[in-house]
C-alpha cells in the first residue's frame, strides 16, 4: 500500500489528480455518466460575488496543440452556487474545492466568508483563490501579478476561513516565484500553477481577433513545458505544497510535474478530450510509483536528479 495523498493545510486528498477549474463544471455534468470517486479533487468553475454572464462569443478557439479561451468567469454567483450547487457536493464521491474569483482583495474574502458560512456541513473541502484569470478586467492577472496585492488578498481570505487555502498563480509575470512567496507569506496552504497564458488568434478571413475580447488564455499541450518550468521554480522557492497544471494530457506529463516538485496536479483541457482521463491517470501514477519504488509524494520529488 502506498499513500500518494497530498496534504494541504492539514487535510488529505484521496490522490494526486484533480480536475481543473472551469473544465469540469460543478461535476454534475459528469456525475451521471462517470464514476468520480477516482478523482483526487474537483475544482469548481470560478464562483464570484454576483452572477456573471461571461464574455461575448465565440469564447474558445483551437491553436496549435492548444486551446485559447475567453469564458470570462461565466457563473451563477455565490448565492445560487450555495442553493443550486452546494447540496450536490455533499454527496460527491470526491473532494470539492471552490475556485473563487473577485474584482478586488476584500471581495475575495467576502465570497469565501459567505461560502464558509453557508456550508456548515463542510461540503467544500477548501478554496482555490483565482488571482490569475486573464479574461477579466479586474481581479485577474492584474491583481495576480502584483506580489503585495496577492499577499494582501491571501491574508484577507485566510482570516475568512480555516479550510485549506490554495492560491492559483498566473504564468504571465516576470518572476512567478515572487508571487508564490507572497501567497505563502499571506498564509496560503498551497499554491497552484499555472493558469492560462495570454494569447491571441486572429481570423485573417474575417479580419478580427477570433475572441471578441481580443486576447484569451492559452491552455493545453502547447503550454506543458511552461507549466513544468513554473512548478520546478516555484517548488524550490516556497515550502508549502505546489499543485501543478498546464497541458497535462498523459500520465507521463503528470509525472513530469510530480518530479518537477508538484505535490498534486490538475487536468484541465484534457477533460474535454477524454472526461475519464483523471481517474485513469490517478491509477497509472500509482502504478508508476510502485514500479519506481516510490511510496510518497516527496519520493517523486527526489527521483529527479539535480540538473546542470
Amino acid at each position: 500500500m502506498i499513500a500518494l495523498r497530498p496534504v494541504i493545510g492539514g487535510r488529505e486528498l484521496a490522490n494526486v489528480v484533480g480536475v481543473a477549474s472551469g473544465t469540469f463544471g460543478y461535476g454534475s455534468e459528469y456525475e451521471r455518466h462517470l464514476d468520480l470517486s477516482g478523482i483526487g479533487a474537483l475544482y469548481t468553475k470560478a464562483v464570484t460575488m454576483h452572477p456573471r454572464p461571461g464574455n461575448d462569443v465565440p469564447r474558445i478557439v483551437e491553436t496549435p496543440a492548444g486551446l485559447l479561451n475567453s469564458i470570462g468567469l461565466a457563473n451563477v454567483g455565490r448565492e445560487r452556487f450555495v442553493v443550486e450547487k452546494l447540496p450536490g457536493f455533499a454527496s460527491m464521491p470526491c473532494a470539492v474545492i471552490a475556485n473563487v474569483a473577485a474584482d478586488f482583495p476584500e471581495e475575495y474574502a467576502e465570497v469565501v466568508a459567505y461560502l464558509d458560512a453557508n456550508d456548515p456541513t463542510g461540503a467544500l473541502w477548501g478554496y482555490e483563490i483565482n488571482v490569475s484569470c486573464p479574461n477579466v478586467k479586474a481581479g485577474g492577472v492584474a491583481l495576480g501579478s502584483n506580489a503585495s496585492e496577492v499577499e494582501r488578498t491571501t491574508r484577507l481570505v485566510r482570516t475568512a476561513t480555516d479550510r485549506p487555502l490554495i492560491v492559483k498563480l498566473t504564468p504571465n509575470v516576470t518572476d512567478i516565484t515572487q508571487i508564490a512567496r507572497a501567497a505563502e507569506a499571506g498564509g496560503a496552504d498551497a499554491v497552484s500553477c499555472i493558469n492560462t497564458v495570454v494569447g491571441m488568434v486572429i481570423d485573417t478571413a474575417r479580419r478580427r481577433p477570433v475572441l471578441p475580447a481580443g486576447t484569451g488564455g492559452l491552455s493545453g499541450p502547447a503550454i506543458l513545458p511552461i507549466g513544468v518550468a513554473a512548478v520546478y521554480r516555484v517548488s524550490r522557492a516556497v515550502s508549502i505544497p505546489v499543485i501543478g497544471m498546464g497541458g497535462i494530457m498523459t500520465t507521463d506529463d503528470a509525472i513530469q510535474y510530480l518530479m518537477a516538485g508538484a505535490s498534486a496536479i490538475q487536468v484541465g483541457t484534457a477533460n474535454f478530450v477524454d472526461p475519464r482521463i483523471a481517474t485513469r491517470m490517478a491509477a497509472e501514477i500509482e502504478r508508476f510509483a510502485i514500479d519506481a519504488g516510490v511510496d510518497s509524494i516527496e519520493g517523486f520529488h527526489s527521483l529527479l536528479e539535480p540538473s546542470g
Binding site: E29, R59, I60, N69, N271, F272, V273, D274
Partner: protein, 258 residues
C-alpha cells in the same frame, strides 16, 4: 454522455467534399434522435486537440451515421477512415428537434453541414402524416447529397447556380414553397448562419414557428465549460449550444450577435 469506441462500418462520399460515415452504435447507449449530436476524437497527437461535434444523420439498431464536410484537419482525417477502424465517440448529446404541432406540415430546410440532422428528421417524420417537405440547397448540383430519403418525404432541391433543381437559394425555394403549402406549417432549419437567419426572417414574416439547429465551437460538449455560448434575445442572455441546444426556437436566438 456515453463514451465508447465505435467501429467504422462505411465511409462514402455523398456529394463533392461531403461524406457519410456509418459506425456501430452500442446497444446500451441511448438511441440518438434527430437534432442530437456526437463528438469524435481524432488522433492522439494533440493536433487537432478538441473533439469535433457532428449531428447524427441516422440511427437505427446498432448503427448510426453522420454526414460531414471535409474542410479541415479533423474532417480530412475522418475522410481517411476505413471500415473496421476504431473511432472514439461520445454521445448522444444535446436536445432533439421537437415534434411538429399536430396537423402542421413540417417543412425542413438544409444547407451545407445541416444536411445530416435535417435528413434524419425528415426520415423520422415520414412515419406519419402530414408528410414532411424537405428542401436541400447547395451551390451547385455536385454539392447535393446522394442520400436515402423516405419515399413519403417531398424532396425539392435548390442550387445557387441553377445546375440542379430550383435556381436560387434554398430560402428562395422555401418562400415559393410556403406560398403553395396549405394549412399550418412548422419550419426546421440547419445550415450556415445566414441561411438560418433568412429562414427565421421568413418565418417571422409568415408568422410560423421555426426551429433552428445552431453551431458554436465546443470545448466539453456537456455543459461544463461555458465555451459554446450563443446570444439569446433579452439582456445579456447566453445559452450553451451543447446542452440548451443545438436546437433553438428561432425567436430565442439573437440574430444580431452571432
Amino acid at each position: 454522455m456515453p463514451l465508447f469506441t465505435a467501429r467504422v462500418l462505411a465511409n462514402q462520399e455523398v456529394a463533392h467534399d461531403y461524406y457519410q460515415l456509418d459506425f456501430s452504435w452500442i446497444s446500451d447507449a441511448p438511441r440518438p434522435v434527430p437534432g442530437q449530436f456526437l463528438t469524435v476524437r481524432v488522433g492522439s497527437s494533440g493536433v487537432p486537440l478538441l473533439r469535433r461535434p457532428f449531428a447524427f444523420s441516422d440511427a437505427a439498431g446498432e448503427r448510426a451515421s453522420m454526414i460531414y464536410w471535409r474542410r479541415g484537419d479533423a474532417t480530412r482525417a475522418i475522410a481517411g477512415y476505413q471500415p473496421g477502424d476504431a473511432i472514439d465517440v461520445m454521445g448522444p448529446l444535446g436536445v432533439a428537434f421537437p415534434e411538429p404541432t399536430d396537423g402542421a406540415v413540417p417543412v425542413l430546410i438544409a444547407g451545407g453541414v445541416g444536411v445530416g440532422p435535417i435528413l434524419f428528421l425528415a426520415n423520422a417524420l415520414a412515419a406519419r402524416a402530414p408528410y414532411p417537405i424537405l428542401l436541400i440547397g447547395a451551390r451547385s448540383a455536385q454539392g447535393l447529397p446522394r442520400v436515402r430519403v423516405d419515399g413519403r418525404v417531398q424532396l425539392r432541391t435548390a442550387t445557387d447556380d441553377g445546375s440542379a433543381g430550383y435556381a436560387g437559394t434554398v430560402i428562395d425555394l422555401l418562400d415559393r414553397t410556403l406560398d403553395i403549402t396549405a394549412g399550418d406549417v412548422e419550419l426546421y432549419l440547419c445550415g450556415p448562419n445566414p441561411m438560418l437567419r433568412a429562414g427565421h426572417d421568413l418565418a417571422a414574416r409568415h408568422g410560423i414557428p421555426a426551429w433552428v439547429s445552431m453551431e458554436q465551437t465546443m470545448g466539453c460538449a456537456v455543459g461544463a465549460c461555458m465555451g459554446c455560448a450563443i446570444h439569446l434575445t433579452g439582456v445579456e442572455r447566453y445559452a450553451r449550444v451543447c446542452t440548451e441546444g443545438p436546437v433553438f426556437r428561432s425567436t430565442d436566438v439573437d440574430w444580431e450577435r452571432l
